[in-house]
């Protein structure tokens, strides 16, 4: 039986929060299912997949139930708000990972159980409440959207369900995951942020996501790279989109609205905007040309891990307004906010700087200096940022002053002038709509509205847009990373629009109803009664809708094609002639093919090292002689020799010694490589003696060297040198 929702803002809020939880649950489930299905025929244990799903549900679903459990009627403290509790769930899960890594005591099952229970409970309530048709349409849409996100995140060379198999075949994977994983592994093994190419010198980088992911990897019992391909999509993608929607829900609750606004699940306007802003209504190539890099958002793990925290902090800030207890406000201003800035800094510097900008702006606009707590908070925030910045900032990423750099070099030639308009389109739309909503028609009205602080939301958004725009246009930030400043406003704007669009629609309808009816000259019905404006709208909008659909299937199709292509190659390597479905999913055939791949032995050996007890790994370093060509030339063909050293620490979780790129290879100044001296000449036989290696290892504080060198055709030869034995 379904019960119609009683129309009231409060009931809508309850339903909206349930809807968000249902959406994130479905997305997590679908992503986990895609991963598992993609691996049929390969080693495919269900436990990590279920643990990832459980972790995702714990973070996304449990906070809502916890909020309802601990909140009394009328209690609106920020601490018991859903965003704050979601941050808490993140923290709890991370420390559960720390606990698991340090002691082996793993509470993953408990967290998963809580996550599953919350999800099922919320889902059941949600299903009972709404109309079946609306619920079904929503569920179908969520599944489709999750498939798209899966396509994007796994449709690149960064992450893929068949990551190890792809690596084993031709090493055709991007080097970025190796960089992130090597840093995460060095944190896990040695407790030092480093990329571990020649010992573990300290690295400056926003390694927060690496740290977080390795804790989560501990929790679900997997390694860093496997987590990047499985846990990251299943946990972080639903969390990110959930955070966007949650910020929208908080705004909707804070700013109020009409009871005529339909509930979130059936408000098609919300979902049209959501899909348009995420998937895009113009071709992917055009979006790329305008530096609206949808794929980057989902592929960049630091950005996608940082954004939910950023959005949840903003949402918690909105919840703070309802706080009545002084202690709660003090906790937010003196504790939560500075810590949130630090967390954002470690996750993505851009987010810390933008958040600080928002804090300072609000401090000025809301006259924080009148309250000593707020003043102290501002000082703490500035101090926290100032202290965090040097730790997380990689100087090499800043290539100096370069006016309009991002527009000039990262926007398609000829389209630069459209960048401020289209890259920031959602922000402009929100601001324009808010001005319309507030009936601000001219500069005088605007001044009045600003003085009355009626447009604080629009001001914050405008500030984010401005602050996000400036860095990339002032300085050259390596690899187009300025987008991580300029893109932030998009998601905040999307959340704000979702929070407000229902109200705008009602207002629009009311305005139209108040206007005198247009005279209709033709009284006929049927086709003749069709309005020309409708026909025009269809003609104009149809290409965008078709493009949205095309964009949404483009990435998943790539994933499917790549998966099939890989299977075909493995089947061919196994010597099986058939390329039918049965062969493509046959475990024996695929396993045989995999064993015959070029890098299978190397990858297996490195993964074997990772399987060593942590104590052994902590005292050891890995040495791969330059003579082992299979390793050192794996990325020569496409000019990526400088990144080859990252593979060993990323896979084995043991640092290299004398592991800088081969002589003759131009060493990049990015990826913290400047911490190591490039080779001045070829590696000599004298450099590879046990004595020389041990001398080097001891100097860097290690007691053992694991040497991985050319072995037989199937695998490299591994041997260990104990550097504290006599004669070493």
């Amino acid at each position: 039986m379904t019960e119609p929702i009683a129309a009231s803002p409060a009931v809508n809020d309850v339903d909206a929060r349930d809807t968000i939880v249902v959406a994130t649950s479905i997305a997590a489930f679908v992503l986990a299912a895609i991963y598992w299905v993609s691996r049929i025929g390969f080693v495919n244990p269900a436990a990590p997949v279920l643990q990832s799903l459980g972790l995702s549900l714990f973070i996304c679903c449990t906070p809502l139930q916890l909020m309802r459990l601990i909140r009394r009627k009328g209690d609106g403290e920020w601490l018991s708000s859903q965003p704050a509790l979601t941050v808490l769930a993140l923290v709890v899960s991370a420390f559960a990972g720390v606990l698991a890594g340090a002691t082996g005591f793993n509470i993953a099952a408990v967290l998963s159980a809580a996550g599953f229970a919350s999800s099922i409970w919320t889902g059941a309530r949600w299903l009972r409440r709404g109309k079946a048709a609306h619920s079904l349409a929503f569920l179908a849409g969520t599944v489709a959207f999750a498939v798209w996100t899966g396509g994007v995140v796994w449709g690149s060379r960064y992450k893929m369900p068949l990551f190890w198999e792809t690596f084993s075949l031709k090493a055709n994977i991007h080097h970025d995951p190796m960089y992130i994983a090597s840093m995460a592994n060095m944190l896990a093994t040695y407790g030092t942020p480093s990329i571990g190419l020649d010992g573990v010198p300290l690295a400056h980088y926003h390694y927060g996501s690496g740290w977080l992911f390795i804790q989560w990897a501990n929790l679900i019992g997997t390694d860093a790279l496997s987590f990047y391909s499985l846990g990251y999509p299943v946990v972080v993608i639903p969390l990110f989109f959930g955070a966007v929607l949650l910020l929208g829900a908080e705004l909707r609750e804070r700013m109020g609205g009409s009871s005529d606004v339909p509930p979130l699940r059936s408000d098609y306007r919300d979902w049209i905007v959501f899909l348009a802003a995420t998937i895009g209504v113009i071709p992917t190539r055009a979006l790329d040309g305008l530096a609206i890099w949808n794929a980057n958002v989902l592929i960049s793990e630091s950005y996608l891990a940082g954004m939910p925290v950023f959005l949840l902090v903003l949402a918690s800030g909105l919840a703070l307004e309802r706080s009545t207890r002084q202690r709660a406000r003090v906790a937010f201003l003196l504790g939560f906010l500075p810590l949130a800035l630090v967390a954002c800094g470690f996750l993505k510097i851009s987010l810390m700087l933008l958040l600080l900008g928002v804090v300072l702006y609000l401090a000025v606009r809301l006259h924080f200096w009148r309250s000593w707590i707020a003043s102290v908070s501002v000082v703490l925030c500035v101090a926290a940022t100032a202290l965090t910045y040097p730790i997380v900032s990689l100087p090499a990423q800043n290539s100096g002053i370069s006016p309009l750099n991002f527009m000039r070099y990262d926007v398609a030639d000829g389209w630069q002038q459209f960048f401020p308009l289209l890259h920031m389109m959602w922000t402009w739309i929100y601001i324009a709509a808010r001005l319309w909503e507030e009936k601000v028609r001219d500069v005088t009205d605007l001044r009045t509205a600003l003085r009355a602080k009626r447009l604080m939301d629009a001001e914050v958004l405008f500030l984010l847009m401005l602050l996000g725009f400036i860095p990339g246009e002032l300085i050259s930030i390596h690899g187009g990373s300025a987008v991580y400043f300029s893109d932030v406003q998009r998601w905040v704007a999307l959340a704000f629009i979702i929070g407000r669009i229902g109200v705008w629609a009602e207002r629009w309808r009311a305005d139209r109803a108040a206007r005198p009816a247009a005279s209709v000259r033709t009284e006929d019905g049927g086709v003749r009664a069709v309005r020309l404006s409708t026909l025009l709208a269809i003609f104009v909008i149809a290409p965008f809708v078709v493009t949205l659909l095309a964009n949404s299937v483009q990435w998943p199709l790539w994933v499917v094609r790549a998966n099939i292509a890989l299977r075909r190659e493995l089947v061919a390597l196994s010597g099986t002639r058939s390329a039918g479905l049965s062969a493509l999913t046959d475990p024996r055939t695929l396993s045989e093919g995999l064993r015959r791949t070029q890098y299978y032995g190397l990858v297996s050996s490195l993964r074997d090292i990772r399987a060593l007890p942590i104590e052994e790994r902590q005292r050891a370093v890995l040495f791969i002689p330059q003579s082992y060509r299979l390793y050192w030339t794996m990325w020569d063909a496409d000019g990526r020799c400088t990144y080859t050293p990252l593979v060993a620490p990323a896979v084995s979780s043991v640092a290299l010694i004398d592991g800088t790129p081969s002589y003759g290879c131009t060493q990049t100044n990015q990826y913290n490589m400047t911490a190591y001296r490039p080779r001045a000449g070829p590696q000599l036989p004298s450099d590879t003696t046990d004595a020389a290696l041990c001398a080097r290892a001891r100097m860097k504080g290690f007691a053992e060297v694991i040497v991985l060198g050319s072995g037989d055709a199937s695998a490299p030869r591994r041997r260990r040198i104990d550097c504290y034995l006599p004669g070493r």
């Binding site: 398609a412 000829g414 002038q417 459209f418």
Partner: protein
Amino acid sequence: MQSPIVDNGRDRDPEAGLDQAFATVAVAASIVALGLAAIYWLARAGFDTPFDPVLRSVGLALFLLDVPYAVWHVFAQRSRGWAAASYSFICLATLASIAALGRLVPFAGVDLSVLVTALGLAAFLFATFHWLRSVSLRHALAIPAGSALFSVWTGGVVWGRIYKSPIFLEMLITDGIVHHDGVTLAALGNMLRTYHVPSMGLDGIPYMAYHWGSPWLFAQIANAAGLSLTEVYHLAFPVMMIPFFFGGLIAFAIQMRGSDVTRDPVFWILFLAATVGVMPITGTDAVGVWTSNVVISESYTVGMAVGLLLLATTVSFWRNRAKSLLGGSIRWWDFAFMLLVLPAGLVALGYLKISLMVLGFLAAAYGALRAGAFRRPPLVIIGIMTAALVVSVYGRVSLPAHREGMVALDFMKSFVAPPWWPFFFLFQFFWSLLYVVLRLRSEDARNVGDVVAAAKAGRILDVELVTLLAIVGVIPGLILHIDGGSAFYFSDVQRWVSVGLLLAGAHTLVPRFRGWRWSELRTIGVALLAVPLVISMMRNATHWTARMLRANAATRVQLYDAAGVKRGPPVIRILPRLMNHDILEAGLRLSPNYKPVEGLLEISRMPLAEKRRTAVFVPQSEVRYWQMLRRPGACTFSSYVVPSLTGMSMVDGMPPVGCKLSRYYGLSLYRPRVQPQLPGDTTSAALCGRAVKEGFERVLMLRFDSAGTVSRKPIDCSRIR
């Protein structure tokens, strides 16, 4: 046709305004022509650039652009209502008179170019004088300045792509990397000029079914101005025809409106948006809207101008005579117009560009049907005769090789990337859609029923015709394979008709933001939205010009290199250091094609009577000739060099064995070589046997020594026989 043609009282003084409007057309178009000539001349700085051809081209351009105004002002403006006295008809008549003049020159043997230039200059001064008397100072400054800037854009487009260049011959001499259109069309024009046969002249002069109207016209212009066909294509065409097209478009708008629409800034904003574009070029290219094609395809440029002027003339005729025609009081001159002007115009369009004839005929047929012409037997007979004529002409102008069968969505598959397919119709029809929407808005049509009612009342025939042109124009490219993207010349026609009509209605159709103040947020918002569009327009305006300058610099740097003078990479800023005549001349002389081109140009100076009885033969052994063109795959066009430079046909001039032949450019009319040329094929007897069969009396055998110097061996076939 109704609004925007119908004056709704918003124009101040339509009668007095027309004179000023047409004067604006004449002056603005003339300044564009002068600007283009100046650019041509400047682009050749440092090379041998006789002033004479430039002056003759300018003279003809001024004649074409200003004489219509002078005639209209003096004779016709008081005869409004008579189609033959309409400005558009006078423009067409002026163009026809230039062609006739050119056709007469070889017979008369008199150089009339000086007279034409003097007349053109006088007409220009006359138009300028009248224009200056009637315009405000602001207009008097803005129109010439704007026209001069516009000429920079048009010059960039026409010479910034590889099709045409002010230094075409120098490029041919330097490295032989020129677009084949430059030689194939000149060859066709030359055959028409020398033998009066549309042919490519590769092995005799068999008739080639092709829309050879523009090459024929250019051959007559070459006669009238005493220029070579190469000079006509690279100099006279841009200087004369590009202003003629844009002037024709504006004149069309003025005539449709019946008043001076050029005083409205919105008119010029629309004009620039439709021509230069407000979307980046990569964006319009991505959806198959090629903004530069109207200027680089000479047949389309001329055809479209003629088409618009013919449409304006027809509308003028129809407006004044429709009641008489449909009411039964037909006069003899009505018959004369309908029997001569319309069919002749459609035939001319067919020879200029087939697509224009087909669309023009369909539009005329639709208009006639909607007007009820089928109720009048004389009109039905004229219609049937016109249809028969069109069918007959189609066979004469359609190259069989271009009929390549049906391929679904061929144009989109070939020229639009699949992600942009959904946007294809929206962008292709943008201007038509805009016009239709604004017109229906002006009719206060709100639903389909209102549109049907308006159509039944005959109030929106213009909307119907634009819609028809849009739909019918896009169909060929969606169902047929037409080589080289030529389906564009069907689908693009609606754009210019709609733009013309929009310009006509700029004052009445386009919504105004009256009462908007800068302090209002909506004004600021609109301005912010307009900023990127304006920047795009400015970038588009300089894009092609910069490309032209870079290409110019590249050739000069090559010549400097050849002369042993190093100047660095070919960037625009070093152009002033690349103008030394002696170095350029030395570079040219040391370039591989210098002597062959010089020798062939020497032959072109033979008397016409000699040329007409002589065919040229270049043995296959003369690799210096057969490898003159160097673009990849250019061997298939190597045969055209002789006809294009000498103005004479070849015998046995098909490209060498092993060269992959194009199916187009008339090559399919000749038999490809199946084996290498044998010694027996090059004997005087064999050559004469072939030449006589093709109607020639002499063969001129050309040999090229290792330096490329041409030696001629005349063979008199009458003696061989």
